[in-house]
Amino acid sequence: MELNTIKDAFDRVTKKQKLSSSKSQEIIEQISQEIEQALSRIGPGDDIMTQTDPTFMLCELKAKLKEIGPHSQLEVTQKELNVALSKYPKLLEKSFNPDISKAYRNIDFDIHTVNQIIASHFYREGHFDLGDCFVHEAREPEAEAAKSSFAEMYQILEAMKLHNLEPALKWAATNHDQLNQNGSDIELKLHRLQFVEILQKKRRDEALNYAKTFLAPFAKSHMAEFQKLMGCLLWAGKLDASPYAELLSPVHWDKLSEELTRHFCNLMGQSFESPLSVTVAAGGQGLPTLLKLMNVMTGKKQEWQSMKQLPVPVDLDREFQFHSVFVCPVSRDQASEENPPMLLSCGHVLCKQSITKLSKNNSTRPFKCPYCPSEVEVGQCRQLYF
């Protein structure tokens, strides 16, 4: 974004401000000098001869001050400053979206719900003191419910930072079945890390025992991995010089921490990314389009407040794409249960209604695919499930 003109305008403001404030100082200085001069001339001393009439002096001072004309002097610089001061906000209004609340729908946005979302955002990011402070200040005691489970997660992660896998393994063991069901091998990965840690401390017997108890159950399903780990036993204490040195990389710890977070959140029915961050980021991408839409829709404010579907697509990055949306390339309709996507025998996909139209509602009459030269029969079209 071109911020240079804005920066220049702001520099102008500060320049004029400095000018104006040094002018003020100068004038004050001038006035004090005049007064002090007059004071010295009225002077102390008892000598009648050197004394000037105080009233005369005061009149002279008054005239001098009038000559300086402090107000008109101040006014000149102030005027310039005022010009700069009023230009800058106008420039801001022109270069930015002056009121992003135009895209806001005046609906009852439940404060209670918003507060709960914020509280669990703080907890899930590990800012427990912030969360507590917020829950207390906003008087939302129920919002504290999210705290305990996230606290457990951060305990596990903190321990992992200190290379202590105990809490993580305990968690994995408790949730063994569910993790298995999700097709996760995080338990094996945790045991592998532990195994390597033991090996690194040159305790081969202990490592062997550990492998017997904890790794053996995975041998059947992860044979290659298991063999590799058994190979490591030969290199106890000097793993770094072995073909398996890669296993020592600290990257494994970071990766596993992230994976654990992912699974932990998943088991809690939570997403890996904070839903608040995701939504606000999506808002940042969507707002410009919505504001443009509002500019077009001025005068139809009512319509915006009651609209069921946005009239224009709001393009978001792919990380915000959570669902498959099929838009029929012929009718531009979004597929639905009544109007599902159908695969033609040539591999192109249209919505059912479009196919019905193309075939003129005749299921045996072949029609030409709008995308390639193939002739297709309705009977050969298959419904797709994304």
Binding site: L74, D129, F134, Q270, T279, Q285, R318, F322
Partner: protein
Amino acid sequence: METDALPNGSSASSTTGSTTSAPATPTAAITAGAVSASALPSSKLTQLAESLKLEHQFLRVPFEHYKKTIRANHRIVEKEVSAVISGVAEAADSAELSRDDAVQQLNSLVSRLQGLKRKLEEGSRTEHLQAQRCRARLDHLESADAENLSEWNNIRLKRILVDYMLRMSYYDTAIKLAGSSSIQDFVDIDVFFEAKKVIEALQSKEVAPALAWCADNKSRLKKSKSKFEFQLRLQEFIELVRAENNMRAITYARKYLAPWGATHMKELQRVMATLAFKSNTECPTYKVLFEAKQWDYLVDQFKQEFCRLYGMTLEPLLNIYLQAGLSALKTPFCYEDDCTKEDPLSQESFRKLALPLPYSKQHHSKLVCYITKELMDTENPPLVLPNGYVYSTKALEEMAKKNDGRITCPRTGLVCNYTEVIKAYIS
């Protein structure tokens, strides 16, 4: 139609009719994908520029604050300088001033000027700090680029949250959040503390600070045709009536309400009628005027006036961003039971907020693989199982590799061979 309808055109013609053979990734698709990938940064940059344009308030508020300080400092100078000049004039005009008196008078003027100098120095320090803050924010906007975007977005979320806290009067959390992420220069805590005093006073049914605030910002309130001061005066009048202090109420009305008569006659008449109806009236028109919620209403009014004066949005930024984000994310699929947990709209609280909002709209198909949750596009095209279920090439290739070329549909349990899948062309 022919022209825009063939995004897969080059590969489509070559594979037409080859529905039974295993799909090979056409090189044309790969190059097309590479082109679109290299075009991404420029679209990313325009997107970034667009989202920076939303930051009006971010630059405007500290500037208004700065401007206010400049004006206040200038007013002090003007006032003191004229006081000194008229002091001199007065002394000069008084005919018989003894010398000692004159000296004393002038000395007091000198010390007054010295006081002014000190004040001015202090004032320029504040001005300087505020100018720095304005500049820090400009630099922060400028620093946003494609590389640090996620960090920048992170800070934006925190800024938005602090804004929310301040508007909701959760000051402790606001300070803590700003402090823990060192974004004090990017949030307007000091601005809101000016409002805090007024709000707290109104909450304890006291109008004086609010009136003082009105006097401070008189010219700007007048410019925006605000009637907030009038509303405060009406409330004070009502309180006098409530205390059955009718004589004082009438004097008060003469002094403070009458000037508004020209523009707000209806409201004035209505309030004056309470003198006759008294506070225990059952007449609904007047009963509401005595209700406690009138004070809450004044607080809301004040917040609005305050935000307007500083160039802030009337709604908290958080609500605006949340609504826009929810509208952009909302699809009918979000409310189904198997909605992925990664979608914010799988959470009850987000669903509740999104309920009155419109659904998003798509002009082009966007397909997400059920297994990998990745987008299915030309680089990772969708494949169809014999039962019509669609998964990404990546996911199925992986599965086939692990299971000797066999594929199990995760949703139906159907087992088939990788050679049985066919490619679907989605435009």
